[in-house]
Amino acid sequence: MSTTEEKHWLVRPKTIRGLWVGGIAMLIMLVLADFFIHPHPYFGIDGSFGFYSWYGLITCVAMVIFAKALGIFLKRKDTYYDDE
């Protein structure tokens, strides 16, 4: 892409800022939606306020960190098997 050509509208800083603001507003609304729905929990805790929100966030962060930690031991250069 030449420098004079304008960037695609989706990757302009202004759009990206807008997406972040919109995204976070949506997250807040989704959490608040718990006030309006009737939870039918199977095991108790899953009916508490905001359960699906924090559970999704925390488990995902945990999985990324676990993967990262495992990577320390198991990652190799992608030419590792090239001499076969």
Binding site: M1, A33, H38, S53, D78, Y80
Partner: protein
């Protein structure tokens, strides 16, 4: 012999034989027409057993038709049609022939009513799928296909021995529900589990599926693992160990996909993840779980093929496969991007996609069976799917940084195949009743309640939020992650090599010692007995030799008289 006695599998198997013989104009007709003929035959089959055959006093039953076998055969035929459309411009005849034999034998395995015919189709599948990888023709693919083949031959051998023991023990060849309580049935279960990519032999999947051609992988993703899911559903429902294996597969798939840089390896690991949901469901084994597994397999084949089609299109147009080389493709490949995103939403079970109405049945069955730990694991895994496949794949391939690549969308046939499968992903999600009515048990489950939709959106959106705040940790590197195949690609060869070189060294040393001793004794003897008129250097007159020859001949003569 009626029309029902014609095995639908034969259409594609015979088609595989015909394909290399016909001209360029007829080939597309066969590629697109034969799967539709198969579909027609499958839909026309009533419940029951057909195509029975007696061979060496064993009963073979090539068509065991019920709602479950027809459901799997249906999605296999649809898959062959759409995959054929996608692969229409594939230049390799060998791949197309292999693919048709592969799809045909998968349908054959699904309809098999006895263990012997199941084994026959199982092995044709193994050979045909190896040929799909081999048809690429590169040195890497030769090596990969041999590794793939060896794993499946091991699985096939376990299965064969298990089947023979089982038939010997029960006297029946019928393929019915089994308990893994005898050596025979345990071996059968192990044979099935190898094809479902259960640990520890799971790496064959990501190893082979990332090396096949742009179209080959689309087919590979559909048949082997899902046929294995089908036979587990039929043979081992409610086997508790499957819950543990399934949950392991779910998280193994997520973690490895998170670490992966090759776009098709990301999707390959996510197959293991999705099949893990199905294996868990089979382990739970209630009617709700079985329905969920069947529905999820159906939905999964379509959205996974769609994802691999969009990855295949990128590979076809750019020749690149690593996330580190890709990015920003949405600008020039809008259709591929949108179809890829639809597949990604479906695999993440986003509301109004096929994954939402199928996977939630498996979670529900865990809750109904009061398996709290399993349920919490499945929920975390649902969030994890969005993380590793739902966002990671489209983000790194189509968005991320600008790689500067501006390839156009792929040719019309590939676009059409992707649009067709995108429509199915959404169609099944919006009108789940169509799929629900084809499931083995009556469905009372209602996927669309406000609570369920909102909860799922909360889970997924916060998973997505986690992805973007953790983005610095997810930066792609030029790395691979060691998997179970390290054992047979590195550890065993190195151990064996070192063992043998140690043995050879020892052997060499022993020979050397022996030779030295031997030489020493020879030279000792020669020193001792050589020299004028010693034992080894005495001279004998020629006459004495002649005399001894005469004596020997005389003894000979004498012996001949004695005889």
């Amino acid at each position: 012999m009626t029309m029902n006695d014609f095995p639908p599998a034969l259409v594609l198997l015979l088609g595989a034989c015909l394909l290399p013989l016909v001209g360029k104009n007829i080939r597309p007709v066969l590629i697109l027409g034969l799967p539709l003929v198969t579909l027609g035959l499958v839909w026309n089959l009533p419940d029951g057993s057909f195509a029975n055959l007696s061979m060496f006093s064993y009963q073979l039953n090539f068509i065991h038709s019920d709602s479950l076998s027809r459901l799997f055969a249906t999605v296999f035929a649809i898959m062959t049609f759409a995959g054929g459309l996608f692969a229409l411009k594939q230049k390799s005849d060998m791949e197309l022939v292999a693919v048709f034999a592969y799809a045909g034998s998968a349908i054959g395995a699904v309809f098999a009513g006895d263990l012997i015919s199941l084994f026959i189709f199982w092995e044709i599948m193994a050979v045909a799928s190896t040929m799909v990888v081999l048809s690429v023709g590169s040195k890497i693919c030769n090596q990969v296909s041999m590794r793939y083949f060896q794993v499946h031959m091991l699985g096939g051998s376990l299965l064969l021995v298990g089947i023979l023991m089982h038939i010997h023990a029960t006297g029946s060849t019928a393929f019915t529900v089994m308990e893994p309580n005898s050596l025979g049935t345990i071996l059968i279960l192990m044979g099935f589990l190898i094809n479902v990519a259960a640990p520890p032999l799971s790496a064959w999947l990501s190893d082979a599926y990332s090396e096949a051609s742009f179209s080959g992988t689309v087919f590979l993703s559909a048949f082997t693992t899902k046929t294995a899911v089908y036979v587990l559903l039929r043979g081992f429902p409610g086997t508790e160990i499957l819950i543990f294996i399934g949950v392991f597969m779910i998280f193994y798939g997520i973690i490895y996909a998170l670490l992966e840089n090759d776009m098709r390896r990301i999707l390959a690991y996510s197959i293991v993840n999705q099949v893990g949901f199905m294996v868990t469901g089979i382990g739970i084994g209630t009617e709700m779980a079985m329905n969920g597994v069947a529905a999820h397999a159906f939905a999964h084949i379509i959205y996974k093929a769609l994802l691999l089609m969009s990855a295949g299109s990128v590979l076809y147009m750019t020749g690149k496969r690593k996330c580190t080389d890709l990015g920003g493709l949405f600008q020039s490949m809008p259709i591929t991007t949108i179809c890829g995103i639809i597949g990604a939403l479906a695999i993440s079970s986003f509301p109004f996609t096929s994954g939402f109405i199928s996977k939630s049945m498996i979670s529900q069955s865990a809750a109904d069976a009061e398996l709290a730990v399993v349920w919490f694991f499945l929920l975390a895994a649902s969030a994890g799917v969005f993380l590793h496949a739902g966002i990671k794949f489209p983000w790194f391939v189509f968005f991320q940084k600008d790689s500067g690549l501006r390839p156009p969308d792929p040719p019309w046939n590939m676009k059409l195949a992707m649009i067709f499968f995108s429509a199915l992903c959404i169609g099944i999600g919006v009108w789940p009743e169509t799929l629900y009515s084809k499931l083995p048990y009556p469905v009372t489950y209602i996927p669309y309640t406000v609570t369920h939709v909102v909860n799922m959106l909360q889970l997924l959106m916060f998973s997505g939020f986690a992805f973007f705040i953790m983005l610095p940790l997810m930066r792609r590197t030029l790395t691979i992650t060691l998997d179970f195949d390290w054992l047979y690609r590195r550890a065993f060869p190195v151990v064996l090599q070192n063992t043998f070189s140690a043995i050879w060294k020892a052997d060499h040393a022993i020979r050397q010692v022996f030779l030295r001793k031997f030489n020493q004794s020879l030279s000792f003897l020669s020193r001792r007995y050589q020299g004028p008129s010693r034992l080894l250097s005495r001279t004998y007159p020629a006459g004495s030799m002649v005399m001894w020859v005469a004596v020997i001949l005389a003894i000979y003569l004498l012996l001949s008289f004695v005889h």
